[in-house]
């Protein structure tokens, strides 16, 4: 075991896989010599050479398109899109190509590919460095979507993603790279070195895709969260004193509905939180699934706490970000409903 930030854990996962499997290649904008703008690939080029870790032209369509070609050849590309907000030029390649190679060729061609992207807000990045586009991926048949919330999960899930036979979108909440963040932006940052989930096993270890984690047990209400909102939800539960059970989904597709349903059947209430905009967000899918599988156990309407349906603003970051006060209010309302 070693103490790691989320950046180090992600790098370590790629390092472990590049050492074990020479089919694993890593590339993207500023990823090679410099090691990525968030330093997630630092040192990999020196260690594995320029043909296994390299800089690309600024072309997200090019990065994903070539990665699909490599994956179909038999390599295991793990590519980086510098910010999730920059993935749109690659969207056609992701949706029409990566997601469908297996299906449309009846398994003749496959696409074992990981696309990593920093996601989410909390860094005053404005509309082009703050978005949470997970629902644009979960809506697409053929893609898996992973959102880790701590170094331990990040490493185990990224190794699983690289070993997965299908394309995986790996969204890294950038506000969590250096420490957990509960939405209290005016308080000092807690580094991962002071958090138990900053303790990461060395070498090869996997966490299966599709397994949620109950991060806080409780009986009054179930909170479904992922990424940064896992910590916001914990702060909200502590501050309101509500006996909330908080589930970190970790993987959106495939989704661990079993763990979710078991919890909601126990608590009878459910609050869904995410940073992404409300309308047609992944929360809508969760709410629908919960009512389908737990309707007769529900004692209150399912509530969603999300980013507003506006582009992500710069100055009004904390008015936009669904912080602990908003989540706390939803917990109180749901428990009292």
């Amino acid at each position: 075991m070693a103490r790691m930030t989320m950046i180090e854990a992600i790098r370590d996962a790629m390092d472990v896989m590049m050492a074990r499997d020479e089919r694993v290649v890593v590339f993207g904008e500023d990823v090679g010599y410099f090691g990525g703008v968030f330093r997630c690939t630092a040192g990999l080029q020196q260690k594995y050479g320029k043909t296994r870790c390299f800089d690309t032209p600024i072309s997200e369509a090019g990065i994903v398109g070539t990665a699909i070609g490599m994956a179909s050849y038999g390599l295991r590309p793990c590519v980086e899109i510098q910010f999730a907000d920059y993935m749109y030029p690659a969207y056609d390649q992701i949706v029409s190509e990566a997601a469908r190679l297996r299906y449309r060729s009846n398994g003749e061609f496959t696409c074992p590919l990981v696309i990593r992207m920093p996601t989410g807000g909390g860094i005053f990045g404005g509309q082009t460095h703050s978005q949470s586009p997970e629902a644009l991926f979960t809506h697409v048949a053929g893609l898996k979507t992973v959102v880790p919330s701590n170094p331990y999960d990040a490493k185990g899930l990224l190794i699983s993603a690289i070993e997965d036979p299908d394309p995986v979108i790996f969204l890294e909440p950038k506000r969590l790279y250096n420490g957990p963040f509960d939405g209290h932006h005016d308080r000092p940052i807690t580094p991962w070195s002071k958090h138990e989930l900053g303790e990461v096993p060395s070498g090869h270890f996997v966490l299966p895709l599709g397994k949620a984690s109950v991060v806080r047990t409780g009986s009054a209400v179930t909170v479904l969260a992922y990424g940064t909102m896992v910590y916001v939800a914990q702060a909200a539960a502590t501050e309101t004193g509500i006996d909330a059970e908080i589930i970190d989904l970790r993987t959106l597709i495939p989704l661990d509905l079993e763990t979710i349903a078991a919890s909601v059947r126990k608590t009878g209430r459910c609050v869904v939180v995410h940073e992404a905009t409300l309308t047609s967000g992944f929360g809508a899918e969760l709410a629908a699934l919960v009512q389908e599988s737990c309707f007769f156990h529900l004692e209150a309407p399912i509530t969603r706490v999300t980013g507003w349906d506006t582009p992500y603003p710069h100055a009004q970051e904390w008015d936009y970000f669904p912080g602990p006060a908003r989540v706390g209010r939803a917990l109180v309302e749901t428990v009292e409903a």
């Binding site: 032209p57 507003w308 710069h314 009004q316 008015d319």
Partner: protein
């Protein structure tokens, strides 16, 4: 090679290997720009504006330069600007540099989240702006604020945008430096790369459809020419002969990635235009006179319905990509000192001194006077607040202008937010 060896090669190919380009020098090495071929000033001919593009292909591989080492303006691209206009250009570049220096300090003081400076690239946007006419539209990137400075846009408004304060014309919605002003021919900056290059072509096509006389200017960096939108822009501009100037600012570095990664096997970025039949110029981006002359030529072609021109400005990004970047991690610290095209302000200063209309003393006085003006603007802007202190845009502003008319679902959300 013996015939036996040859047969072996023919029948059993050697394993392939992947080519990954590398810059000439990395940190710790000695800066080396010997690969940048610099023709002497005045050497490149100035064609007629209705020239057949096929006959000027070599202009995409040379560099149009006006100012020589002695500070003289020479050759067929010289002589377009009066002394007064040159002094005005000097003041614009100095103002932009001072503005940048003050905003960089303000960012470090925590008065805003982020900033991007122009150091070394001031001539390009400042000189280009002077070749445009009112009503023309730029689709800029984040490093063309000289278009605003040289166009007379209010520095206080610019700073209020940078500070996201109560007087921010964009209501705090955008990252610092992502200005927008229709009146000043400055399209709203996206922040995503290359997306607006093709929009400039569309704007220009609209001007032609509408039988207007306005032209558009597209802007992109060397790195972003790799995006598909760049290539879409070139094909549309070429097909419809859109009245647009397609500018590429080649400042050698796309964050940590040297220009060779985006350029690939092509000799120059200007050469990208040739395959589309677009007249393509390559210009000394640190030479105010050369930038202005090339811009004027291209703008004139567009205005006379002769179609698009592509211009590559050869320059160097002296500063960091942004306040989030540290270039010492990927290039030698002294690389900017070795850049063979010098500094645009010093070069124009030397020219003005040679012409006898400027002096070191006057330069210093002007510097001090500009600093006073910029500081006064900054004081005023800060009186309206900075990112984390004083006046700021309201949370209500966040919900406005998503649509022309606020739909019911957003109205409900605004009520929920209690603003």
């Amino acid at each position: 090679m013996s015939s036996q060896e040859l047969r072996k090669v023919m029948s059993e190919p050697e394993p392939l290997s992947l080519h990954v380009p590398e810059p000439a020098v990395r940190p710790g090495g000695n800066p080396d720009f010997s690969n940048v071929k610099i023709p002497r000033a005045g050497a490149v001919p100035r064609p007629e504006i209705d020239v057949d593009p096929e006959t000027i292909r070599e202009l995409a591989f040379s560099i149009i330069r006006v100012l020589n080492r002695n500070g003289e303006a020479v050759g067929p691209w010289a002589g377009l600007l009066s002394d007064e206009e040159l002094i005005e250009g000097m003041r614009h570049m100095m103002t932009l540099r001072t503005f940048d220096a003050r905003m960089l300090i303000a960012q470090r003081q925590g008065k805003t989240s982020f900033y991007m400076q122009h150091l070394g690239e001031e001539a390009i946007s400042c000189a280009f702006r002077k070749a445009l006419s009112p009503g023309d539209m730029n689709f800029p990137t984040y490093r063309q604020a000289g278009l605003l400075i040289a166009g007379g846009y209010s520095m206080v408004d610019m700073m209020c945008q940078v500070y996201s304060n109560s007087r921010d014309p964009l209501k705090g919605r955008q990252l610092p430096v992502m200005y927008a002003s229709k009146e000043h021919g400055f399209f709203t900056i996206s922040g995503n790369l290359a997306t607006q290059y093709v929009q400039a072509v569309g704007w220009a096509m609209a001007s032609a459809i509408s039988k207007d006389t306005k032209i558009a200017a597209a802007w992109i960096g060397d790195g972003s020419t790799a995006e598909s939108d760049f290539h879409a822009a070139l094909v549309f501009a070429s097909t419809y002969k859109a009245p647009v100037v397609l500018n590429i600012v080649n400042n050698q570095w796309a964050i940590s990635t040297f220009q060779g990664i985006a350029r690939g096997g092509s000799g120059t970025f200007a050469a990208r235009g040739l395959g589309f039949g677009i007249p393509s110029l390559r210009v000394d981006g640190n030479d105010y006179l050369a930038v202005h002359a090339a811009a004027k030529w291209a703008i004139e072609r567009a205005r006379r319905n002769l179609g698009p021109t592509l211009i590559e400005y050869v320059t160097y990004r002296v500063g960091a990509h942004s306040t989030s970047d540290d270039p010492s991690a990927y290039r030698p610290k002294t690389e900017s000192d070795a850049w063979p095209l010098g500094d645009p302000i010093i070069r124009l200063k030397n020219h003005l001194i040679v012409k006898g209309v400027w002096s070191e003393e006057r330069h210093k006085q002007t510097e001090a006077e500009i600093l006073d003006t910029v500081i006064a603007a900054q004081k005023e802007a800060e009186s309206y607040g900075t990112l984390h202190a004083g006046g700021k845009p309201s949370a209500r502003d966040m919900f406005d202008r998503v649509y022309a008319e606020m739909p019911p679902h957003l109205r409900r959300q605004r009520q929920q937010a209690g603003v």
